[in-house]
């Protein structure tokens, strides 16, 4: 259906919903039976629960869908609305948030993260609908969505994420990935490098434990099949917590490696090869990269410097410890912020090593900035236009430093470089649990009309605020990100 069709489809949906509200039970049944058929086009079990229909094959479900669509088009005389929107409406009657969202028909189709979540366009209703259909785990939307971020997934904290998985037909999530997903969802594994390494190690186990179907003999067969095996696992991880850009790059690399296995290998050889490659990737791109970054970074720290750091970055930590080990006399100011308070752990590590530290909350930033000689920050990703995605608050620190003409140094491994370009922190971001922001005064925020809590995870630092990027390739200006991607593209894809 064309975009105009979709637009008028939305209008048709709204009309239908109005009619349904007016008609009461009669309308309810009609919507359900239609939705049941459509839902059958999605996860069989969800539709089966609702309308008590038997499970159908994909082809049959598609047929029913088409028939209903055609019938509707004939009845209404306009293009049919997006089936996923109605399916979602029928699926979650309990969730109050979806009630509100039903009224804003446009939002509905955009409401979810799906399959790989790697290149998802949040404002494309068809892509979102497809992603929603392919989701492994369905999470409940929050009751009170922040309108500005309505295009991003906002989920309630689940009592048990994995309970849905037991109802699935195939047992297709490896226990390592299951564990990893739960840890990620609860923020037990934090930090770009930690998450990427944990994910790759989990996938390494998946590959090792991969049991090929009977007729698959060679590595080539495995490379085709392994991809389909990984898909639901990746989808599960995304549903637990959205992937960072570095993780996305790692997955793309892994898929490339699997697709381009050396020829004429047995299954076991191919498995060993992939696991060795993963091991090498982790060692080169994360472990050694951090070592080289700390060396380059330490060369920029001089005697008498006052270094400002924010939250907690593994590469910044490595740099400061290295400079301290080299014997340079300097002191550190650790800036921290609610609700994560990650700076505390960094403070512990640095003080234990003997670095002289000061600890402030971010609202005291302008007070200390005049003493600072350099600012050292970490990054979650570096974009093609030189902008930096990092923990929320980093942009404020960098821009304040710029105001005081203090050089801002970003420590970032090259696997986090991305071809994407972002101009603000709103289009793509991650929203955390709003309850983390609670204080005694805000206990009953859900009951207060029009009050919403926003817990952002990342923000965007403009390239103009950044003086230098330290990578394992050396010192680079922020404008050199696309150059590095271009020069090293061959390495990454093959």
């Amino acid at each position: 259906s064309t975009p105009e069709g979709a637009g008028s489809g939305m209008k048709a949906l709204e009309e239908m919903l109005d009619k349904k509200a007016a008609a009461g039970d009669g309308g309810e049944e009609k919507a359900e039976s239609e939705a049941g058929g459509d839902a059958g086009g999605d996860k069989g079990e969800a539709g089966a629960e609702k309308a008590g229909k038997p499970k159908l094959t994909k082809a049959e479900r598609r047929e029913i869908q088409e028939k209903q669509r055609a019938a509707k088009a004939a009845a209404k005389g306009e293009a049919p609305p997006a089936p996923a929107a109605k399916k979602a409406a029928a699926d979650q009657p309990a969730s109050g948030g979806s009630e509100k969202a039903k009224e804003k028909g446009e939002d509905k189709a955009k409401d979810s993260k799906g399959s790989a979540g790697l290149k998802l366009q949040y404002d494309d209703p068809k892509a979102m609908a497809k992603a929603k259909r392919n989701q492994t785990v369905h999470r409940t939307e929050v009751q009170k969505k922040v309108p500005w971020f309505a295009h991003l997934p906002q989920y309630e904290r689940e009592a048990s994420l994995s309970s849905q998985l037991s109802e699935r037909a195939e047992n297709d999530i490896h226990p390592e990935v299951l564990k990893l997903g739960l840890k990620l969802a609860d923020w037990l594994i934090v930090g770009g490098n930690n998450r990427t390494v944990a994910m790759l190690q989990a996938f390494s186990k998946v590959v090792m434990d991969y049991a090929p179907p009977k007729d698959h003999e060679t590595g080539a067969d495995m490379s085709r099949h392994l991809d389909t095996r990984l898909k639901p696992m990746i989808s599960y991880l995304v549903a637990c917590r959205p992937l960072s850009i570095g993780m996305g790059n790692a997955i793309r690399w892994l898929k490339g490696k699997i697709a381009h296995l050396p020829p004429n290998q047995s299954i076991q050889e191919a498995k060993d090869y992939i696991c060795d490659q993963i091991e090498a990737y982790i060692t080169e791109k994360v472990v050694f990269a951090d070592r080289i970054i700390s060396k380059h970074g330490a060369s920029k720290i001089n005697t008498g410097d006052v270094i400002l750091v924010y939250a907690r970055s593994s590469s910044v930590e490595a740099t400061i410890l290295r400079a301290h080990r080299d014997g340079t006399k300097f002191r550190v100011i650790v800036v921290d912020s609610r609700p994560k308070l990650e700076g505390k752990k960094l403070l512990d590590k640095l003080s234990a090593a003997g670095v002289s530290c000061t600890y402030i909350m971010i609202n005291a930033l302008s007070y200390v900035m005049k003493e600072v000689s350099k600012v050292l920050l970490g990054a979650s990703a570096l974009l093609s236009n030189g902008h930096v995605i990092s923990r929320v608050g980093t942009a404020a620190v960098a821009m304040m430093a710029k105001q005081f003409n203090i050089p801002v140094l970003i420590c970032c491994e090259t696997y986090k470089f991305s071809e994407k370009v972002m101009l603000d922190s709103i289009c793509t971001n991650e929203l955390g649990d709003p309850d983390e922001l609670l204080s005694p005064a805000l206990e009953n925020w859900r009951d207060v009309k029009d009050m919403k809590l926003l817990n952002l995870c990342y923000d965007l630092t403009p390239a103009e605020s950044i003086t230098l990027v330290i990578t394992e390739l050396g010192h680079l200006p922020p404008t050199s990100v696309p150059v590095v991607i271009r020069e090293y593209r061959k390495e990454v894809t093959l």
């Binding site: 920029k300 003086t467 050396g474 010192h475 680079l476 200006p477 050199s480 150059v483 020069e487």
Partner: protein, 335 residues
């Protein structure tokens, strides 16, 4: 009898040791090695010769004459030669140190790269000598290329502000004048070296009308000029330049007055440095201890760093580049 450690490996190649080892006699005067002698010879031959060209020439000669049979040996020899070149004193050395380091590192990088491309040592050595000689030839041409690149920027009636004694700038302006373009040059005096006078002399020979102003008059004359032009001792990875003291403040005033700030530099001046502030300079360019004059402590820093944000364009022999393109070129070169 300072025997540099790398040469313990060369006991069997005594003829190499003799040419490369620097022996300090009891009197303290170091004996010059062949590399240094070659370098000085080339520098002396060409009155406006570039230090980098002389260095590459000396290093190429060293490779040609060496009896090394492996790449590893060559690389060790090169490293030692680089150290000797950097330690020696020659006229105008202060501002050329970066260029020298950059040229040596560039050559070392070429060696490694060629070694990776070509397996056979003899073929590799031949290619290196060939490249080295071509580089020397090209480096002479590079200044002519820059002069050509600069022509479109100078029009009839242009008034330009020039700071520091740069061979590239002088050659380029002379070429522009001989091409028939009528323009005027305002020069800064350039204390304490006062090399503005020398530049004045050169330009007047080419028939270019020149005026000299004192260094403190930069803000005063900035309104009159159409563009600012300067050379560079070194071009850094960030796109900023290290140049004679006074370049940074000139760039700040030019930015404030919205005048374009152009830098003319050859590509062998590109180096892997990344200063974070005007004072974050390599040791050779750092400020020395203050001198006493008439009972007063006088500080005379030799150089400063101009950040890339203040530079409009760099006119080089590989084209007219924006500051961010410098890192692009360096990455392509070094990786």
């Amino acid at each position: 009898h300072a025997c540099s450690p790398p040469f313990l490996l060369f006991r069997s190649f005594s003829h190499l040791s003799a040419s490369c080892t620097k022996l300090s006699t009891m009197s303290g005067a170091p004996q010059e090695s062949k590399v240094v002698r070659d370098f000085k010879k080339v520098l002396g031959e060409n009155e406006r010769g570039a230090v980098a060209v002389a260095a590459i020439h000396a290093l190429t000669t060293m490779i040609k004459e060496s009896g090394a049979s492996t790449i590893m040996e060559l690389e060790i020899l090169l490293k030692a030669a680089q150290e000797q070149l950097q330690e020696m004193n020659f006229e105008g050395q202060r501002s050329k140190a970066i260029q020298l380091t950059a040229a040596c590192e560039l050559f070392a990088r070429h060696v490694t790269r060629t070694a990776l491309d070509i397996g056979n040592f003899d073929a590799c050595k031949k290619r290196l000598i060939d490249r080295g000689e071509r580089f020397a030839a090209q480096a002479d041409v590079s200044r002519a290329v820059i002069a050509d690149n600069m022509l479109p920027f100078i029009r009839d009636g242009t008034v330009m502000l020039v700071h520091g004694y740069s061979n590239v700038v002088i050659i380029a302006l002379t070429k522009a004048a001989s091409a028939g373009i009528r323009f005027k040059v305002i020069l800064t005096e350039g204390c304490p070296e006062r090399d503005g006078f020398k530049v004045c002399e050169e330009l007047q020979k080419a028939g270019i009308p020149t005026e000299l102003v004192v260094d403190t008059a930069l803000g005063y004359v900035m309104q009159e000029v159409d563009m600012v032009l300067t050379g560079a001792a070194g071009v850094c990875e960030s796109g900023g330049i290290i140049n004679k003291l006074g370049t940074y403040q000139m760039s700040v005033i030019a930015k404030e007055a919205k005048k374009p700030f152009y830098v003319a530099a050859e590509s062998y001046k590109f180096c892997r440095l990344y200063p974070l502030s005007p004072t974050d300079l390599p040791d050779a360019e750092k400020e020395g201890p203050p001198v006493m004059q008439n009972g007063v402590k006088v500080r005379t820093p030799p150089s400063d760093f101009t950040p890339p944000a203040n530079i409009t364009l760099l006119l080089t022999d590989i084209g007219v580049l924006t500051p961010s393109a410098v890192s692009d070129e360096l990455i392509k070169l070094y990786y």
